[in-house]
Every structure is written in structure tokens, then in C-alpha cells.
């Protein structure tokens, strides 16, 4: 469905997750940071690694590898945090995403981009905007807004909610 969206020349930031190349539309990338200390937020799903301080603001950080079903991101000299601007239900949300390494900013023409294959990727094809081709290498262009629907960003812990009645809201 999504190839139709890419009709003009666009720029993409490419990065690697577990040897594979991925790309994000540059308009949705705010900046790239070095991997810094992440404060863990208790009782969150594993892929929600915690929060970091972005010049005085608090930004959640997700582990894209865990989200995409790979192993946990380990810290190396190349590990980066890509600060992404998510547009969810009209709201702009800043989110940090861990990447094994950030590659470059590339320009791709619409004819360089083909629709995602129906099989053969580790990702749910819903998340893929298209496949870009650069130097005989395929780059997976991620539709990051689809990866994180609002419900997923606002991680809901039903377990905790069930406890709420007993846990301090009613009986006290």
C-alpha cells in the first residue's frame, strides 16, 4: 500500500540492525545521539528500555531490535540513539530508538523504491514503506508511525491496572 506515498525524491537516514540496513524518512529524524546512560522505567515491556535526558526533556527509548524480534541491543562504540518524531493521532511524540550503527543520509528517487515483499523479511510488512535499492543492497524503509501505534507507545500494563482497586485507589 505504501509505495504510493513515495512519489518524490526523498532523503533517508540509514542505519543497521543486526547486519541489515534500514532507513527512516529524514523528516522524521530529529537528531542522532551517542548511546548514553538509560534510566530504566520499572515494569515496562522489555523493548521499552527506559528514558534519557534530551537537553532537559525526558524521552523514552525503545530497543528496535527487540521490537522487531531480534536479540537485545548490546552497547558497542557504534551504538546510537536516533531521536524520532512520531506523528500519532495528530500528536507529535519524541522517541529514541536504539540502532547498532548509523550509516549515512541518502537520497532516493521514487524509481529506486519497490513495494515490500510479502514474505521473506523478519518484519511485519505493515511496518515497511518500501524497499530501497542502493549499490545492489536492499534497504528496508520503515514506516515508524505504524511501528508504534499510540497504544503501543503508551504501554499499558493490565496487571497493574487490575491491582489498582486494591492498590491504593479505593481502600485506604
Amino acid at each position: 500500500m505504501s509505495v504510493m506515498e513515495i512519489i518524490e525524491t526523498s532523503q533517508f537516514l540509514t542505519f543497521k540492525l543486526d547486519q541489515e540496513s534500514y532507513a527512516l524518512d529524514i523528516t522524521q529524524v530529529r537528531e542522532v545521539l551517542d548511546f548514553a546512560e538509560i534510566t530504566k522505567v520499572p515494569r515496562m515491556p522489555e523493548y521499552m528500555r527506559g528514558v534519557i535526558n534530551l537537553r532537559g526533556g525526558v524521552v523514552p527509548v525503545v530497543d528496535l531490535r527487540l521490537k522487531f524480534g531480534m536479540t537485545r541491543t548490546e552497547k558497542t562504540v557504534n551504538t546510537c540513539v536516533i531521536i524520532i518524531i512520531l506523528n500519532i493521532e495528530g500528536e507529535s511524540i519524541l522517541l529514541g530508538a536504539l540502532a547498532d550503527s548509523v550509516q549515512e543520509v541518502i537520497t532516493m528517487e521514487p524509481d529506486q523504491i519497490v513495494p515490500p515483499p510479502k514474505i521473506g523479511t523478519r518484519l511485519n510488512t505493515e511496518f515497511i514503506k518500501g524497499m530501497g535499492k542502493k549499490n545492489d543492497e536492499f534497504i528496508i524503509i520503515i514506516d515508524i508511525d505504524k511501528v508504534f501505534s499510540l497504544d503501543e507507545v503508551a504501554v499499558y500494563q493490565s496487571h497493574e491496572d487490575g491491582q489498582a482497586l486494591k492498590d491504593g485507589r479505593i481502600v485506604k
Binding site: 515496562m44 521499552m48 528514558v51 532537559g56 525526558v58 523514552p60 511524540i93 479505593i170
Partner: protein, 683 residues
Amino acid sequence: MNDLKEVEKIYRQEAEERLTEIEETVLEIEENPEDQEAINRLFRAVHTIKGSGAMFGFNEIAEFSHHLETTLDKVRNGELSVTKDLIDLILKSRDYINALLKGDRQEVEEGHRIIAALERLVPEAKDEVRWSAQSDSDRCEDAKETTYRIRFRPDHTLFLNGTDPIALFDELRTLGECYITPLIKDVPLLNDIDPEHCFLSWDIILTSMTAINTIKDVFIFVEDSCELEIDVIDREGDLEENKRIGEILVDRKELSGEEINKELKKQKKLGELLVESEIVDKETIGAVLTEQKQVKAVRDKRLQESNTSTIRVAADKLDTLVDLVGELVTTQARLSQFSLNHGNQGLSSIAEEMERLIAELRDNTMSMRMMPIGTTFGNFKRLVRDLSAELGKEIELVTEGAETELDKTVIERMADPLMHLIRNSIDHGIESPEKRLEAGKACKGTILLKAQYKGAYVVITIEDDGGGLKVEAIKAKAVQKGLISKDADISDKEAFNLIFAPGFSTAETVSSVSGRGVGMDVVKKTIDSLRGAIEVKSARGRGTTMMLKLPLTLAIISGLLVRVGTGHFVIPLASVEECVELTGEIAERSHGSNILNLRGEIVPYIRLRDRFGITEDKPDLEHIVITDVHGRRIGFVVDNVVGGNQTVIKSLGPAFKHMKNLSGATILGDGTVALILDVNALA
């Protein structure tokens, strides 16, 4: 065009303020109809709305307010007494003006009805009302006290046509305070004088409420045979400094500025001159000078107040300022930390200086956002009045501590919950007059709305002397709703807290006022989101008390920084009571029941390590932070207590909006993030 929009916006804002004032004042007048001061205030407010309405092209408002003003003028003059009908009509008019202001045009009919009703109240015939309205408004425009300078220079022939200047002056004296100075410089030597001619002229200073034309009328018969100049030299409301004699001379074109300055240089100060010639002693002059200084200081202060009170700042500018100060506090914490590690004397002294300044800046900025809570009290008076009339109850709202200041956001967000609580008191709390008399209470019920400071909190109390909460009914309902089991043995206090469950209502019927069961849970939610707490006390037959505990400000709190595993957490200092050590021995002694014996008191504790699923190694010696949660002591076990921390609260954002145990995050001196615990939710 944009300017015009801007001006309209300002008018709207101002009119809204005036409308609030009208509402408050009307209710005051209802309580005390003899309060002339309040009536005057009301009149002035309506007059302002009318005047500026006409100026900015809100003609409908101006026209309508004019009718209201006319009626109010009658009240002011004592021609019309304050009745309930009148109060109702004024309130209706206020609502109507409000609707007009919002651009609601469908209610023109309503306006006509109100005008007609107002006119019916006035004893005189309608036509007369209209006529007097006209002259009234004329007078109002000029009803300011004005000081005139009248220069009266009659021709020599003044006496010849039979004019007696004394008669003219007497007439002037009837208009107001009048000082007359005769000028005799033109009087010739006795040899040359013609006794039938007038050589005198006069300067008259008149302070009066009359318009300039009235004064001219006095001189109407001599107009042709004299030079007459009438100037306004002071008007009420003018804040211009008192003029000095030299300035007045220049004003009157008697002398030029340079001449005056030249002369002034020759002059010694009056005080010195008087002392020199031994007319008065030094002490007296000192006293006089003090007096002069004092008067000047008072005036300056008044001038300053009248200047500062008119500064308007858009709320979002203030918000940005608070955000920036928050960032500054964070950065400063990093600087302090850095200078501490660095050990450089010069650097640390600068850091300390910065710390002090920033603390001051922070307090100042915070105080800018503070508003007296009384601004919302006016609405509630109206609510109580209207609702109690509708329900046929007699209720009086008593307010205390209206001057208590709270953060603007807190006040805004509390408006709805307070409304709910007061509505509940009116509808469910206070009984009908018959029932009250049966129960041996005064026929008139009382609701007390009180705000007071308590540490870093403001406590708002809503107390009614009604029937109190029906514990049995609440329990039955809770069982029915499946909130508690049938044989649950819960205390009254716990039962009262059940009313905050969503959809909970014990009212048998749904009235227009309350009973739908929404409301109390909204109240609870709002207060939780403001990091406040609510407490219910109730005695059957004697009334209900709701105590809302709210933080003074939302942006920065004092916190206690603790560590669990590698993570740092902040516990709001306001709820911390003390810290004790938890040795392995004590933990063992309680046989895993997580209960601590604190000087004979049993205190349950919660292991944050377990609650948060932190698996890192735990130290041999742990600490318990004892907190006060809704009047109950609860301990939180942490690895280490780091110390106090000025915590700038950052929102965790939508990503963590369902996290109930955390109320936000803050940034520590080393740039890492610490999470702020919500002890109320954790306990």
C-alpha cells in the same frame, strides 16, 4: 485590522473581569443591601462595560448596559431599593452581557425581556426613565472631580453695566470648592483712579463636579465685557505629579522655562531660609520634611501600584519562563556537581553564587504564577444561590481564606472538582428546611469553603452541616457494584473512599444536579493528577467534610533522592516523615511479613526492589523511608538514601501515561534521569 482584533481581545478580557466583579458584588449586596460602597462598585463596573463597549464598537453591549446602568443609578440614589427581583435581574443581565460578549446573538429577545423587567421595577413612567437616562449618562461622563483655572479679566466698564463680581463669585462657590485671588497690579495710583471703573482682575481655582459649560453659564452676562479663560488643570484619576510653582508659571505662559531656572538658582531652600531667619527651629523643619517625604513615598507607591496592577502577561509566556527556570535549575545542579568534583575554589564560589541567585529567581517566577484562590469563590456563591433556590433549600456559603495563593494551573484545574463537591453538598448534603427543623437544626444550611496553607500544601475544605454520608447505603451499593464482597468488614473511612469509584452514586433518582455517579471519580482523578489527596470525614446527621490537599506548585518540588539497584528515584519530601535503617536482622524478625515496629507503632513497608522487579544485588543494610499516605504511615525500602533534591518535574510524556506508580521524572546533576514516585499510588 489586527490591532483592532487585539483591542477587542483586551476589551473582552477586561469585560470578563468586570462581569466577575459584578457577580461578586451583586451577591455581596444581596447579603447586605445597605452597602453603599458595593453599590457604587457595581455601578462603576457596569459603567465601564458600557463605556468601553461603545468605544470598541460593541454597541449591543453598550446599549444594554445602559439600561442596567440607569436602573442601578436609581438604586445608588436611593430611589429604588434592593429586592430579590432586582438581584435576579442584575444577575440575568450579567449573563446576558456575557452571552453578547461571546458573540451569542440568538438571545436578543432575552435582552428585551430583561430591559422590560428592569423598567417595570423603576417606579416612574417609562418615558421619564428614558429621559433621565439621557441626562444621567451626561452626568456620568463628567462625574469626575475636575479642577479648573478661571482667569477673569473684566473690562474697565464692568461696573457700568451694573455687574457685581461678588455675585458671580458667590455663584461659583455653589459649584464647588473655590479659591479666588484678586490681581491688583493694574490698579493705578490714587490720583489717577476712576472710581467707576474696575481695575481688578481675578484668578479663580475651582474644584467641582460640574462640566465646563456650567461654569461658562455663570459668566454668560459678562461674556462680552471681559476676557474669560477657563482651563482644566486637574482631573480625578490624573496621576500626574503635583506641579511646582515654576511649572505652573510656565504653563500659564507668564514666564519662560529659562527665566525660571535662572531665578531658581539664586534661591536657597525654603527650610534653610526659615532657619536662618530664626522663624522656625531646625527640628520643626525636620518634622516637616519627614512629612513631605512620607507623603511623597505614599504617592509614589500608589503610582507604582496603579502601574503594576495593569501589566498583563499572556499565560503561555509565563509558562515558558517557568520551563526555562526549570532548565536553569537543572543546569545549575550540574554546575554545582561539577565544581564539587573539580575542587577549584574560584569555580565553586561562582557556582554557589549562581545557586543562590537561581533559587531566588525560581521563587520569584513561581510566585508570578500564584493566584489567590478567591477568584473562583465568586462562581461558587452564584452556584449556591441559584441551585439552592431551584431545589427549595436555604443555604449560605461561607468562604474563608480567599487570599490563599495557589499555582494558576492548580486553580484552573480545581474549578470543576470544587464545583462537583459543592453541588453534591447542596443536592445530597444539606436537607430541605422541613427536615432540618425536624432534626433540630437551623433552617438555613451552611456550606463552608475554606482554603489554608499547610506546609508545602494548600488544604481546601468543603464542609456542610447536612445529613452526612449514609455508610450503610454506600456499603450496600458497593456490594451491588461488586466493589467489595458482601461480608467485607470495612471501616467507615474506607467506606467513604468508595464514593470515588467510577459510576458510584447512592442517589436513588438522577436529578439535574447530581446523581449520575460521574463526578466523584472525576474529582479524585483531577486531584490525583495534581499530586494532591482527598480525605472525607462525615458524621451521620451532622454533616460531611471534604479535605483536598493540593501542592502549592506543580513545576518544582522538594524531593528525597533515593537509590534502588542502579536506578535513582525521587520521593516527594512533603510526604516523607523519616528514614530508618533496615538491617537483615529486623527483616528476619518480622518473618517476612514486611512490618516494622517503629517506636511501638506498626508500620507496613513495601520493597521497591520487589515492586519494580529490580534484580540487582541488594546491600546488607537497606533503608526505609517512612511516608505519610493519607494519614497512614507506610515505609518504602530502598538501597540508599542519597539526600535532598530540588526536583524539577518533567512529564514522562504520553508513552508512560498509564504508569500509575510514577508521577514524572527529573534530571539529576549528572544529566541522568530519575523517576518521581507517586507514593499515594504505590501504597
